[in-house]
């Protein structure tokens, strides 16, 4: 796979433009490698983010030919179209510089959704016995392996259109906790995701599910939240 590739990279902050670079193609080359090549050989000031380089940290997500992806695990041959690649920062987040987005809103919403464990025990209590095939454990497991890469958040137009919307990843996390029998914070959590901008803002576009690199299904998690909040509301356990 010899030859050259024309790569357009976003340069600048929220205001900026795409700049073209010619990059040699290699047999084993990921999108992250392309970006690295440009930084090392064309423009030393190119900014981007990565850490683990194997799809565990979710730091390297960018928009590649219009689609958010983890760039360290995306082979160029899989995404190149007519010898071209267009790479920008993640959508729906402020841009710090070039290809690096500011992830703070994403994590702030994760917290707003009460995306953190609320303990019911301490380290001096025995570890809870939980049957691996119990329904709640299975539901929690299905959604737990999120690497908070922000790909789903960036692919969701409801996030773009509704500034209050917590987004698929935060809600997916809330759903895993809701199924965690050890958790003691579920009333607050249900209330937090039942307000304006909570789970009910989701229109089931399913872009989150289609793009998640770990093949998680936030749409299903959010549907679960919609049911549980509705039940809780009807029983008078939460107020909107």
């Amino acid at each position: 796979m010899a030859g050259m590739l024309t790569v357009s990279l976003w340069r600048g902050g929220t205001e900026g433009r795409y700049v073209d670079y010619d990059v040699p193609m290699r047999e084993t080359q990921t999108v992250l490698d392309i970006v690295t090549w440009v930084q090392r050989n064309c423009d030393a000031t190119l900014s981007y983010r990565f850490a683990c380089r194997v799809g565990m940290c979710g730091s390297c997500a960018m928009t590649v030919n219009g689609r958010p992806r983890w760039t360290c695990r995306t082979h160029v041959s899989k995404v190149v179209s007519r010898g071209r690649l267009t790479i920008g920062p993640l959508e729906n987040l402020p841009v710090i510089k070039d290809l690096a987005a500011d992830m703070r809103p994403f994590f702030e919403k994760w917290q707003q959704a009460k995306g953190r464990f609320a303990p019911s025990k301490t380290r001096s209590d025995p570890i809870e016995r939980i049957a691996p095939d119990s329904a709640a454990r299975v539901a929690a497991d299905a959604a737990i392996e999120c690497i908070n890469c922000g790909v789903c958040y960036s692919a969701c137009d409801t996030v773009r259109w509704n500034g209050d919307y917590l987004g698929p990843a935060a809600l997916n996390r809330a759903w895993t906790l809701l199924n965690d029998v050890r958790d003691a914070g579920n009333v607050e959590r249900l209330a937090a995701v039942a307000t304006d901008g909570g789970c009910h803002a989701c229109h089931s576009h399913q872009s989150c599910q289609e793009h998640c690199p770990l093949a998680l299904n936030p749409t299903a998690s959010i549907a679960g939240l919609k049911r549980r909040t509705a039940q809780a509301y009807l029983r008078g356990e939460i107020k909107p």
Binding site: T158, T195, H200, T229, A230, P240
Partner: protein
């Protein structure tokens, strides 16, 4: 949208499903038979069932559509929350008003 609006919107949607199925059937029936205005009115006037049927529909659709509109305005318009809410409440009232007027017109003997 919060959980209360959600429940109202989904509940009214679910309620409308059977109503609309019947309504569509009625449309087919009326056109197939080529019913005239007097034919129609003869069937509806004074009927408690039709009054209830279309009354419930109008109530449901007013609630459903105005909540739906609220969502669309939230996402697609620059309106502030207050203006948005006033606008959709007015829309809902208008729809209900016109709707009930139509029901009255069609079923009042």
């Amino acid at each position: 949208m919060n959980v209360r609006l959600y429940i109202w919107q989904r509940a009214t949607a679910a309620l409308m499903v059977p109503l609309l199925l019947v309504h569509i059937a009625v449309i087919f029936y009326a056109t197939r038979k080529g019913l005239s205005a007097s034919d129609i009115l003869a069937r509806t006037r004074g009927s408690v069932s039709w009054t209830l049927f279309y009354g419930v529909f109008v109530a449901a659709v007013s609630v459903h559509a105005s909540i739906g509109l609220r969502t669309v305005l939230t996402e697609w318009s620059p309106l502030g929350q207050r203006t948005r809410d006033i606008a959709v409440v007015l829309f809902g009232l208008l729809l209900a008003l016109l709707g009930f007027r139509a029901v009255v017109a069609v079923v009042l003997p």
